[in-house]
Symmetry: C2
Subunit: 508 residues, 2 copies
């Protein structure tokens, strides 16, 4: 029996190796590669992507997959092997429908497109990027169309549902419409109340000038403080912070340092560290395999959000280390007390930039992207109309209209590489983090641990109940295993309501 | 006709892409990867290496190669296509004899071995590295043995000749024995004379403390000054300086900054820039192809040596920029005049470290490695005996005995990745540089160009006559095209004799 699986394993090892190479090229393009490299490197990436595709989608793997799915064979597989078969079937559904040449062309385009996006963002010129984005969207529509089933006939969101399922298999527009309705119903009233009290929290110190070199040093410190292991990872700089990895012993995160926004930089570091810690704690026997990543995008995001918000934004977390930050910036923070700092890092105020958003307004940024993506993939708007539509929605939901596209539609890298359907995972991730937070609170005293600078126990707990498993379990299975309950967005609403009611002294 | 070649081309494109991925992993391992990454990454590299191997060595490519070599097909090929066929045949001779699994295992070992070497060098502990090196040598013997022909029966250097031919096809131990005989006969007497006059040049300023950050900045400047294009390249840091590339628009060089050896750092920068300029000037239609690299290791080295020595060590070169160096280190260089500086950078004194060696003693460092490699591959010494043998030869030829292996047998990275037969290319490269120098002197006034800071013309000339061609021509063909003469080591001897006779006022 295991012989049949071993045959498959050898073939999957090749796809894992090619995927690591592609991840390295992507990391390199974002952090280091010279300006003129993109075209030629794009060719290399195109070829390797095609190879990657063919390493998974081919008659031999298909046949092995089919045989291993037969009941008499499947029953004998281990838990890990069954998860591998499940993931491979999912990949087959995603990719097998796409002609390999088409897929390679897309990957080459997506690679070039990222550097074009960076340029467009820098120059605040959407037109530079528009044609690339249009082609990316066309490819994604085409790819999704291969997988639309008969049962979704007449569903205007059929294409977008396909894209969503790539990131979180258990969620479609149906569940997400409900999720965002809840957000709108319960949170928008709170946002409105908080808006009236904007003057109550003074965070003006945050726009003072904070030397980049010191930010880098402090962020390195804080990443290690929460649990990022420098022996297993690298921290670099890129236009937009991200985390990637080649395996559990080589996990890489970036930050983007902003001289006049200390809080944003610090919490990006904690956020990406949360992602990185997840990858570092995946079991050795799972890493470098098809199930060697995080359970899903949303679960991944839950870990980064957990560290960023539930851990990093508490007073207990800062008690042992705030003095060190004040020493780093002794002039800039001379007049800032710990209490002031804590109130400032939790301040809620509608803004343009998703990655700078506070916890309360954050899901609205996602709501806007969710709606735009839904409209884009149901042909209600065109790529050309995106900048205008973007501004309109920000005005509608947050009462703000960004003056530039750099502060608007060009702010995020995701679309440039074709990641549509990804954004909702961010909000779902925050919601999972809240659910985990309430559950863990019953098992450990966060305040005491954080005050003692003892983050190891938290990391170990997450490692034991979530990280180590890689992709063995899906989101709901993992949550049920850990908390006895499936995904439940009520915790998220409860968390934000409690937190902001307290912070701003709102009427409960 | 071209249809048959196009079929081959598509297949070779895959091997080029895989080879770029392997080069990126190697770059990354040397410059950035975290401490614990090597084992897992080694697996990835093993798989990709096997893929690379199979992308070249397979029945389809073999059959296409055979058909394209048939006279009626071959005659119709372009110059570039013929060169591709020649290189592919060479690769077939090198690799086709090695079982693919064996090759993959070797690549995985070589990757790990580089980080083990770095550790051994750091800790001055050859025993850490010994077992790895032994296995590397065994693999290389095994690989070479597959290619030993009947005609070399009874030749004790048969294995080593095979390895040498991988780096410079036109040179074997026969030619190299002659070359090094000439070096010994003509140069050793000069070295002895210079030794008596060691006190005549004072370079004591060189061991003052030069802040690393300023070195980095000045070296970046000087690399760009000689022609390194930052839009097409990256400069980073590693244990041992090297240059690599993925194509002509992404060329990467490293340096190793030594706080107490300014001259070494600066000339490493110029040296690696020479390599990088070569790669950057290879034609767009050749890059990312089987003939997209430099003509040979020796020709590559000739370009780095040309920039380092014939250009970088002249007074004319430093006239426009010496003030900038003095400003960078205003305290450390306050008492150093341009003339003193020029004499110091050309000072000859036997030392332990190859990469720090002056031009005159440099070929002796190579001679020692050449003799040790020859002895290693003809079973006259074992890996275990290397440290001792190393010290003995340094005593014999340069009158010096290194106290540590870090200053001895562990100083160079090459053997850790199995690059035996590589070192002679360095000395041959210097000899080619001298030959090119005398020829170019007839066509341009170096002194005037350099005094005017006009290095573009030199770069353009080398681009036109050497760089652009990639591997279309071999070493002798290239030299003949350019100078009307094949490789001739007499220029090298003449160059060093003239230079050091003048510098030290020796009896001519």
């Amino acid at each position: 029996m295991s012989e049949l699986f071993d045959q498959l394993k050898t073939k999957l090892d090749r796809s894992v190796a090619l995927s690591a190479a592609l991840a390295l090229f992507e990391w390199d393009a974002e952090t280091l590669a010279p300006e003129e490299a993109a075209d030629h490197t794009g060719k290399v990436i195109g070829i390797l992507s095609e190879d990657y595709f063919k390493s998974l989608i081919n008659p031999e793997v298909k046949s092995l997959l089919g045989r291993l799915e037969q009941e008499e064979n499947y029953a004998k597989l281990t838990l890990e092997q069954k998860a591998t078969i499940r993931e491979l079937r999912r990949t087959y559904k995603q990719l097998a429908s796409i002609p390999s040449k088409e897929y390679a062309d897309f990957c080459e385009l997506a690679n070039k497109s990222s550097s074009v996006w960076a340029k467009a963002k820098k120059n605040d010129d959407f037109t530079l990027f528009e044609e690339y984005l249009k082609r990316i969207v066309d490819y994604k529509k085409q790819f999704a169309s291969y997988r639309v089933t008969e049962s979704s006939e007449g569903n205007p969101n059929a294409l977008y549902d396909v894209l969503l399922s790539d990131f979180e298999p258990s969620l479609s527009t149906k569940e997400l419409d409900e999720f965002f309705e809840l957000i709108k119903e319960k949170l928008v009233p709170i946002i409105d109340q908080v808006k009236q009290k904007q003057d109550e929290i003074d965070d003006s110190f945050n726009t003072r000038t904070y030397e980049i070199e010191k930010q880098r040093k402090f962020c390195d410190f804080i990443s290690e403080y929460v649990g990022f292991d420098r022996k297993k990872g690298v921290i670099a700089e890129s236009a937009h912070p991200f985390t990637t990895n080649f395996h559990n012993r080589d996990v890489r995160m970036t930050n983007h340092y902003d001289e006049n926004n200390l809080i944003s930089t610090i919490f990006s570091a904690i956020h990406e560290s949360g992602h990185a810690i997840y990858e570092m704690q995946i079991r050795d026997d799972l890493t470098l395999s098809l199930i060697g990543g995080g359970a899903s995008m949303a679960v991944h995001e839950s870990q980064s959000r957990f560290y960023e918000n539930m851990i990093g934004k508490t007073k207990a977390f800062w008690e042992p280390i705030f003095e060190s930050l004040k020493e780093t910036y002794s002039k800039q923070l001379a007049d800032v007390s710990l209490d002031q700092f804590i109130r400032a890092i939790n301040k809620s105020m509608p803004g343009y930039i998703r990655t700078d958003a506070d916890e309360l307004t954050y899901p609205i940024h996602i709501l806007i992207r969710y709606e735009l993506e839904k409209e884009l993939f149901s042909d209600q708007i065109t790529v050309h109309e995106l900048p205008k539509a973007w501004k309109k929605k920000y005005k509608e939901y947050l009462g703000l209209q960004p003056k530039t596209d750099t502060l608007g539609v060009l702010q995020d890298i995701h679309w440039s590489s074709g990641d549509f359907g990804y954004f909702p995972s961010y909000a779902i991730g925050s919601a999972i983090a809240a659910q985990i937070y309430y559950f863990m609170s019953e098992h450990m005293d966060f305040d005491t641990l954080l005050r003692g600078g003892n983050l190891d126990q938290i990391k170990a707990y997450l490692g034991e109940h979530i990280h180590q498993y890689g992709m063995i379990y899906g989101m709901n299975e993992l949550l049920f295993h850990m908390t006895g309950e499936r995904f439940n967005p009520e915790y998220y609403v409860r968390y934000l309501t409690e937190k902001y009611t307290n912070l701003y002294g709102l009427d409960a």
